[in-house]
Symmetry: C2
Subunit: 213 residues, 2 copies
Amino acid sequence: MPDDPARIRRLPEKGVDDVAVINSILDEGFICHVAYLSDDRPVVIPTLYVRDADSVLLHGSPSSGIVRATRRGSPLSVAVTLVDGVVAARSGFESSINYRSVVIHGVGALLSDEERGRALDLIVDGLIPGRLGDIRRPTPLELRKTAAVQLPIEVVSAKVSAGPPEDDVADIGTGVWAGVIPVSTHYGEPVPAPDLEPGLEVPDYLRRFRGSQ
Amino acid sequence: MPDDPARIRRLPEKGVDDVAVINSILDEGFICHVAYLSDDRPVVIPTLYVRDADSVLLHGSPSSGIVRATRRGSPLSVAVTLVDGVVAARSGFESSINYRSVVIHGVGALLSDEERGRALDLIVDGLIPGRLGDIRRPTPLELRKTAAVQLPIEVVSAKVSAGPPEDDVADIGTGVWAGVIPVSTHYGEPVPAPDLEPGLEVPDYLRRFRGSQ
């Protein structure tokens, strides 16, 4: 796991490949953890996000901590972490996980009424691709009850840990099994709402949800 | 998702059931996201953790941000989030995820040399239950290269979102499929390290890793 989180690099110093890696991590996830300041103390919470070009979009109640911090120009830190494996090394010191993570730092911008509807659409479409064509549009009241924050992907670091354990040479051949247990997210069979009309079929985009089946 | 992260409650005000829920969430996860201050800005990173009675234990390099913040008495915020489902509601506003999360706030304590070995053991055992009996013990050099932080589970909030979509009455019966896609973590077949001795069998505790198979 990262032990030097201060390794923050600006995108212009990174190659195109790195931007592609960052974007691929951001596009695979849908939950981030956002840190913000509340009375000068750090607070971290999970929330949904979506990448929109070179920004990430967050939403929340207008009174939420993320929105209040953004309103006063206070910085955010946003982490997206995908776990790929558990690394069973021959020592505790080398035991770890394989993962891909992105951390973005910056001051967000609150989106205007006009921009907010699109941001909410993108967040729903990021969570459930294909869903937007089926669902009811937001009402003016719902839009008033929601704030959206745009955070540029400018000050950002990505870390990727992959591959087999990296054991000390002296530990190899000592009769201890070593390797990696692959970790992935499994999406099950959709469970219909109790108030669903009889006979409604699960839409194709949910049957094929994020590669399941 | 949580929109009022300021809802922080002290354990003494919560019932035993709540402590049980908090502990069950902390015991199911192994990755947390930790927010700390770096030059008065919030930084969030993923890291491993384990619950030890009424604390969580973290580890990192002695120069890592979490350890440096703890050394100067600066507070941490630690979130553990387990995703249980994607909620496909009939409106974007009600679309969300089912999840269980715990957020702990407080100032951590750096563990002494004596305590650190046990803390690292607990973190490895939390990640791979049963593993400790097989692996090499930490060397004095490894222990010097690792710091461990103990954070009491005192100022803590837990949130659990479960069940079907909660659609507006007016949206029900409109011919839109609604329900939940279950989300779980899948552990695959263990992949042996390339440098593994031929003929070594996967240990039982890895075959049955976290309920797989």
